[in-house]
């Protein structure tokens, strides 16, 4: 086990913090869309940079990915990737109640992604007495090539990342959005410190 891996207790603690953040993000989404969001238990795993690219580019029907960097105090940072499937992206305008010409599909995707990412991370940050700042969200249109370039261009270097996967399933519309948070190596060490601090209270 390397210094970048989480202990069982740290994993459990992180999962619970994520549960709470995910619950509030989906409540926002549900209110925004006036519907119900079905939640699954999030997954947390350590992943190699090269494996990650492969996993992400294997999702063939992924149409669009919106990427947004986040950074807080104590060296907590990462990148949030929200991926949408091809058949879903056309529905987003309907879901959000936009008129056909009001906003382009790209803008709608960026809109909804930003709501999810910032709600989730603000709640997460509040629980660990932190505060997040965000980069502007960026839409990566033709996923296959762009994603690998984008990951390589990210401002942090990493071989290993913590990958947190959260699925938001809007039942009424069979619409699916996958939120992937990537936490690079140095930030993992910092998150582990925060988790240990919380665990020490128990």
């Amino acid at each position: 086990m390397s210094e970048f891996h989480l202990t069982e207790d740290q994993q459990d603690c992180l999962q619970e913090l994520i549960n709470i953040a995910m619950g509030q993000a989906s409540d926002q989404l549900a209110r925004y869309l006036d519907t119900f969001v079905y939640l699954k238990v999030p997954s947390i795993e350590s992943i190699d940079a090269k494996d990650l690219l492969q996993t992400l580019s294997q999702q063939k029907n992924t149409m669009a990915v919106v990427s947004q960097g986040f950074f807080g105090y104590e060296g907590i940072r990462g990148e949030a990737l929200l991926s949408y499937q091809e058949e879903d992206s056309g529905r987003i305008g309907d879901l959000l109640g936009y008129e056909p010409d009001e906003l382009s599909q790209d803008e709608q995707l960026i809109d909804i992604s930003s709501i999810l990412t910032t709600t989730f991370l603000n709640v997460f940050a509040r629980q660990i007495d932190n505060q997040m700042s965000y980069n502007a969200p960026k839409l990566l249109p033709s996923v296959q090539n762009c994603l690998s370039e984008h990951l390589q261009e990210m401002t942090f270097n990493w071989d290993l990342a913590l990958k947190i996967n959260i699925n938001y399933q809007v039942t009424d519309y069979s619409f699916n959005c996958n939120m992937i948070l990537l936490i690079p190596e140095t930030a993992i060490i910092n998150i582990k410190k925060v988790l240990d601090r919380i665990l020490a209270e128990f």
Binding site: E16, I20, G23, Q24, S26, D27, A30
Partner: protein, 121 residues
Amino acid sequence: MSPSVLICDDSNMARKQVLRSLPEQWKTSAQIASNGAEALTILRDNSIEVLFLDLTMPGIDGIGVLQGIKKLNLDCSVFVISADIQPEMQAKVKALGAKEFIRKPVKPDVLISHLQQHGLL
């Protein structure tokens, strides 16, 4: 006398959070389940009076446990403690017989006041 209590949550930390929010005299006898299936087994074989129940769990989730309690016709006060705070979810668990919906992370004063409200303290 303190009632028989069961805490069901897949997270160890969340279970501890509930446990330490309980009235002092309830703490020692509280039983623990880490998933819905385990909870239903304990509920079936023991007369549990108060259940603190999480919703989002792998396998049989909190909704499944509430349905099981109905099916088995058990007399048990259920307090749902969940992060899934959508109004529709809160209405759903109440319709399935839960006494209260309490949002995570649970705070001792909130939990105690709900127990008092339902005449359990």
